[in-house]
C-alpha cells in the first residue's frame, strides 16, 4: 500500500503548499510512491488515517488548537511545513503589539470571525516530528525530507549557514554592498536563492543550531548597527528570540 500523505494549512499564505504543487513533474513522479489523501488545494476528501501530514501555517485561533490536535491524532508522522508552522514565521510579528490595536489597524473593526490570539508555531500545541523550514519552503528540501521518510531514514537539515551555499555559488557578499545579511547565522538549504535574486538573506529558515552570534554581532556593529537594529533584523522571521 502506498504511503498516505496529507497537506493541511492554518494561518499562512499557502505559499509552501504552492511550492509543492509547483514541483510539477517531480511531484507527479512522487505520486507514483505516495497517495495524497487530503489536500485542500486539490481535493475535498477526508480520511481517518494519515501516514505523513505536512502542515502549513501558525496557530492563531482557539478553534485551530482542536483541529490541529485531531490531525495529530490520526497522523503517524507530522511535519511542520514552512516558517509559519515551524517557528511562527512572519506571523509572530503580531506578538510584539497589542492584538486589539492590531486588529483595529488591519480590519478597522472588531472582526469577530477573525478573532485571533498570539500566533503559535505548531510545536507549542502538538508534538512535531520533523520540520521543513523557510518562507516559503525549498521544493527540493521538501522532496528530500519526503524521500527520507519513505525510506525510514532521519531527514537531516543542513547545519551550516547560508554563507556556505552563497560561497559555493560564487555570489557576491551582501555586506560588500553595505547590505545587512542574515546569511552568516541562517540555516542553509535554500541555495542562497535570495542572494541569487539580488536580495539579502532575511533569515526565513531560522538559525543554525550553533549560530556564531558574537562574531556576527561584531560584524553588524562594524556595519553601523545597534543592538536594537540587530534585534529588528532578527524579528522579521522570528529568529533569534533567544539571542
Amino acid at each position: 500500500m502506498k504511503t498516505r500523505i496529507g497537506f493541511f494549512d492554518f494561518t499562512g499564505c499557502e505559499g509552501c503548499q504552492l511550492t509543492v504543487m509547483n514541483l510539477e513533474n517531480d511531484l507527479l513522479q512522487v505520486l507514483q510512491l505516495v497517495e495524497v489523501v487530503e489536500f485542500r488545494e486539490l481535493m475535498s476528501e477526508e480520511v481517518s488515517q494519515i501516514d505523513i501530514a505536512f502542515i502549513e501555517g501558525s496557530i492563531t485561533r482557539q478553534q485551530d488548537h482542536a483541529r490541529l490536535k485531531t490531525i495529530r491524532d490520526r497522523t503517524k508522522t507530522l511535519v511542520a511545513l514552512g516558517a509559519c508552522a515551524d517557528n511562527g514565521g512572519v506571523n509572530l510579528l503580531a506578538s510584539h503589539q497589542d492584538v486589539a490595536v492590531l486588529r483595529q489597524q488591519v480590519y478597522a473593526s472588531d472582526a469577530v470571525h477573525l478573532l485571533t490570539e498570539k500566533p503559535l508555531p505548531l510545536h507549542e500545541v502538538v508534538k512535531v516530528d520533523y520540520r521543513i523550514p523557510g518562507c516559503p519552503i525549498d521544493g527540493r528540501e521538501f522532496l528530500a525530507v519526503l524521500q527520507a521518510l519513505l525510506l525510514d531514514r532521519e531527514p537531516d537539515l543542513p547545519n551550516f549557514a547560508v554563507c556556505v551555499e552563497c560561497k559555493l555559488a560564487e555570489y557576491p557578499c551582501s555586506f560588500d554592498y553595505g547590505e545587512i545579511c542574515l546569511g552568516p547565522v541562517t540555516r542553509a538549504g535554500c541555495q542562497a536563492i535570495c542572494i541569487a535574486g539580488g536580495d539579502r538573506c532575511r533569515g526565513c529558515r531560522g538559525l543554525v543550531d550553533n549560530p556564531r552570534t558574537s562574531p556576527y554581532h561584531r560584524v553588524l556593529e562594524e556595519h553601523g548597527l545597534s543592538v536594537q537594529d540587530i534585534l529588528e533584523q532578527y524579528r522579521t522571521f522570528n529568529i533569534g528570540e533567544e539571542l
Binding site: D26, Q29, V30, Q32, L33, L143, Q147, L150, L151, N159, F160, A161, C163, V164, K167, L168, E170, Y171, P172, C173, F175, P184, V185, V208, D209, N210, R212, S214, P215, Y216, R218, V219
Partner: protein, 631 residues
C-alpha cells in the same frame, strides 16, 4: 618552411621547453580551435566577479584578470562528484564512472598551478583517488601571469611563479605574449591547434617577473614548521575562535583544501541513486562529530587551529611544503576578516627570537642595546645595565650573547630577574680581549646582544617550596637573577637559604645586597671563603663546610646549585645525604655556548647541547652523562 627552421624543430627534444611568440589574434585563433575539441574553461565575469566557467565565445577569453572567486579546484575536484550509481533493489549495481570530459583550463595563475601540485601530492599519495585522477588526466592546464591584489601573499610562499606543472604558460611581452611549453601535451596542443606558432621562431626565455604583494609574511616559510611547533597552545587560536563565523568559506574557497563528505542521493523513484562526494569543511559543526554525540573538535578555536596546522605544518612534515599557496581567497571572502598573514606574523612576533630567522643568517645577527649604567662591583667585575628594544621572557639562569664587533661574541648569564622590564643586567669580569673591551665601554654606548637563550631555574615549580641555593664564585650571578625573582614574590616561597662560597671576600659579588637580605630575614645567607685572615673574620673553609649545621626539610626543598663542576662533585653527595631527590636538584652546567642555537657543538655534553637543553638542568636529566660533572 625554410630548411634551417625545420632543422631547428627536428632538434627540439620532446621535453625541452619552447618559448614562442603569439599575438592577441594568434591566441584568439588558438582558443577557437581548442573549443572545437575541448571544454575550455576560462575566467568569466559574473555579477562583477571573476568566476571560472566554460567559454562560449573565444573572443571573451581574458588572459589578465584578478584572482577568481573559486580556484580551478571546482573542476578538478568538484563540489558534487558522482562516484558511482546504484540500484536499491537487490544487489547494489555499480556503473562505470562516466569518463571525465576532455577539458582545458585556460587561465591558471601560478598560485593555482601550485595548488594543483598540492592536490596531486595529497590525492595520489597512498591509494590513488581515481575520481580525481580521471579529471586530472583529462584536463590540460594553461597558465597565465597575474598581478597580486591586497590579499595575495604568494611572494612570501614562492608561489608567485612556477617552472613546471602546466602544459602551457602565457607570459605577457609588450603587446603580445610569449607562450612557454611545460609538457609534451602542451607542445602537442600547439602543434595541433596553433601550427603557425609552432612553425615560428624559437624565442629566448623571458626573465622572471618581479611581483610585489602588500600582504606578506615577515619571516621565511622555512621557519613555519618551527613556528607552528610551539604555537599549538598559543592564545591566538582562542581569539580566532571568537572572531570566526564558522561559515567554512576559507576552506571551501581554498584551492588545496580537499576534505569531503560522501552521501547517497536518490532519484525520485527511490529505485536508484548516486553516491556523491561533496566538499566538507573542518570549520563546520558536524565535521568531527561521531554518532554518540562526541565532537572531537568542538570549539571554533580548535577548528581554526586545525585549519592553520593543516595548511602550514602537517603537510610540511610530509612533503616539505605548505598546503597554502598564498592566493588570499580565504581572507578575500572572510566576513570576519581573518587573514593568514596577520595570524602567522602575530605568532612570529611573539615567538622567542632564537627560534625563527628573519633572513638567511639573521639568527646570528645581534640587536643593538644601549648601555644605561655601569657599576664597578669588584676589582674585576662590572655590572652593566642595558636598555633593550623590547622586553623578553626568560628564566633565571638563561644567558645572552654579547658582541663586540671586531672581537666576537661571548655568552653571559643574565643577572637581573625576568620582570618584564626593558632593562637587563649582566656582570662582566675582565679576562680576555672581549671582556677588556667591554670594560672600556661607557654609559651611552651601544653593544650587540643576541638571545635570551636556554632554560633556567623553574620558578613555577619552586613556588610553595623551601629553597636551598648554593653558589660557588661567579655561579652567584645566575642565582642573583633567581633570588631577585624569588624576592619579588617572596610570599610564594618557603624558607630560602643561600650557601655562598668565594675565593676571597673581595671577589664575593653583591655583598651589600646579600647582607641586607640576610639581615632582613628574607634569605638566610651563609658564607664560606678560602682566604685565611679575611676581613670578615670568618674561618677559611669551602662551601661544603656550610652543610654541617644545615637543617632542611628534604621533602619540600628544591636545590638550585650554580658554580664550577668541581663544586658539584663535592656538593651533590651532601645533597643526596640530606634526602633531596634527583629531580629536585638543579645544576648550572654552563659551557662555552658559542652559537646559542644548538648548532655549533661547542657546548655539547655527550649528546646534548647545553644552550638548548640547559644551562640549568635537573640532576635527573644529566646524571647519565659522563661529561656533565665527572672529570
Amino acid at each position: 618552411m625554410p630548411a634551417d627552421l625545420s632543422l631547428t624543430i627536428a632538434q627540439d627534444s620532446q621535453d625541452e621547453t619552447l618559448w614562442l611568440a603569439m599575438s592577441q589574434a594568434d591566441i584568439l585563433r588558438f582558443a577557437r580551435a581548442l573549443m572545437q575539441a575541448y571544454d575550455v574553461v576560462a575566467p568569466r565575469r559574473k555579477k562583477g566577479r571573476i568566476t571560472l566557467g566554460s567559454l562560449n565565445d573565444a573572443a571573451e577569453l581574458e588572459l589578465e584578470f584578478p584572482p577568481s572567486v573559486h580556484s580551478p579546484k571546482k573542476f578538478l575536484f568538484p563540489h558534487w562528484d558522482e562516484l558511482f550509481r546504484f540500484k536499491l533493489d537487490g544487489n547494489v549495481l555499480l556503473e562505470a564512472e562516466s569518463a571525465a570530459p576532455p577539458r582545458i583550463i585556460f587561465g591558471m595563475h601560478p598560485c593555482d598551478l601550485h595548488a594543483v601540485t598540492i592536490l596531486d601530492d595529497c590525492l595520489f599519495e597512498g591509494e590513488t583517488d581515481s575520481a580525481y585522477r580521471a579529471k586530472r588526466e583529462a584536463t590540460l592546464l594553461i597558465g597565465v601571469d597575474c598581478v597580486p591584489d591586497e590579499h595575495c601573499f604568494c611572494t612570501s610562499l614562492g608561489t608567485d611563479r612556477i617552472a613546471k606543472g602546466f602544459d602551457l604558460f602565457f607570459h605577457r611581452r609588450d603587446d603580445s605574449y610569449l607562450v612557454q611549453t611545460g609538457s609534451a601535451q602542451g607542445r602537442q596542443l600547439l602543434t595541433d591547434h596553433a601550427p603557425e606558432t609552432m612553425a615560428g621562431p624559437r624565442e629566448a626565455p623571458l626573465a622572471l617577473q618581479v611581483k610585489r604583494c602588500d600582504s606578506h609574511l615577515q619571516f621565511p616559510t622555512e621557519s613555519l614548521p618551527l613556528l607552528m611547533k610551539d604555537a599549538y597552545k598559543d592564545p591566538i587560536w582562542k581569539k580566532l575562535g571568537t572572531d570566526c563565523l564558522g561559515c567554512g568559506g576559507c576552506t571551501l574557497l581554498c584551492p588545496s583544501c580537499y576534505c569531503f563528505n560522501v552521501q547517497d542521493k536518490l532519484e525520485l523513484n527511490l529505485k536508484e541513486g548516486q553516491r556523491v562526494r561533496t566538499w566538507d569543511s573542518c570549520q563546520f559543526d558536524q565535521f568531527a562529530k561521531v554518532n554518540n554525540g562526541d565532537d572531537f573538535r568542538s570549539s571554533q578555536s580548535d577548528r581554526q587551529r586545525h585549519r592553520f596546522y593543516r595548511k602550514y605544518k602537517y603537510l610540511w612534515d610530509q612533503h616539505k611544503r605548505t598546503a597554502c599557496v598564498g592566493c588570499g581567497r580565504c581572507s578575500r571572502e572572510c566576513l570576519a576578516k581573518i587573514k593568514p598573514t596577520e595570524v602567522l606574523n602575530d605568532l612570529f612576533t611573539q615567538a622567542p627570537s632564537q627560534q625563527i630567522a628573519n633572513s638567511p643568517g639573521s639568527e646570528y645577527q645581534p640587536q643593538m642595546a644601549k648601555v644605561e649604567r655601569i657599576e664597578v662591583i669588584s676589582t674585576e667585575d662590572r655590572l652593566f645595565r642595558l636598555k633593550i628594544a623590547e622586553s623578553f621572557n626568560f628564566q633565571p639562569g638563561s644567558f645572552l650573547q654579547i658582541s663586540v664587533f671586531g672581537l666576537g661574541e661571548a655568552p653571559f648569564s643574565i643577572a637581573s630577574p625576568p620582570d618584564g622590564s626593558d632593562e637587563i643586567e649582566l656582570v662582566v669580569r675582565r679576562a680576555g680581549a672581549l671582556t677588556q673591551a667591554l670594560h672600556r665601554v661607557r654609559a651611552g654606548d651601544s653593544i650587540g646582544i643576541r638571545g635570551p637563550f636556554g632554560n633556567g631555574y623553574p620558578l613555577e615549580k619552586m613556588a610553595g617550596h623551601d629553597l636551598l641555593l648554593i653558589a660557588g664564585g661567579r655561579g652567584l650571578i645566575a642565582l642573583r637573577s633567581l633570588m631577585l625573582a624569588l624576592l619579588a614574590q617572596r610570599e610564594n616561597y618557603g624558607r630560602i637559604t643561600l650557601l655562598c662560597g668565594a675565593r676571597t671576600i673581595d671577589s664575593l659579588l653583591f655583598q651589600e645586597d646579600l647582607l641586607e637580605w640576610h639581615r632582613s630575614g628574607l634569605i638566610d645567607c651563609r658564607f664560606a671563603v678560602n682566604e685565611q685572615h679575611n676581613s670578615w673574620g670568618i674561618p677559611a673553609v669551602d662551601v661544603s663546610y656550610l652543610f654541617r649545621d644545615l637543617e632542611i626539610n628534604a621533602g619540600r626543598t628544591i636545590a638550585a646549585v650554580s658554580g664550577p663542576a668541581e663544586m658539584y662533585r663535592q656538593i651533590n653527595p651532601l645533597l643526596f645525604r640530606l634526602g633531596l631527590s634527583d629531580e629536585d636538584i638543579y645544576l648550572n652546567l654552563e659551557r662555552h655556548m658559542k652559537c646559542g642555537l644548538g648548532k655549533c657543538g661547542k657546548c655539547r655534553i655527550n649528546n646534548i647541547c647545553v644552550c638548548e637543553c640547559g644551562p640549568i638542568f635537573p640532576y635527573s636529566s644529566v646524571k647519565h652523562l659522563a661529561e656533565a660533572i665527572e672529570k
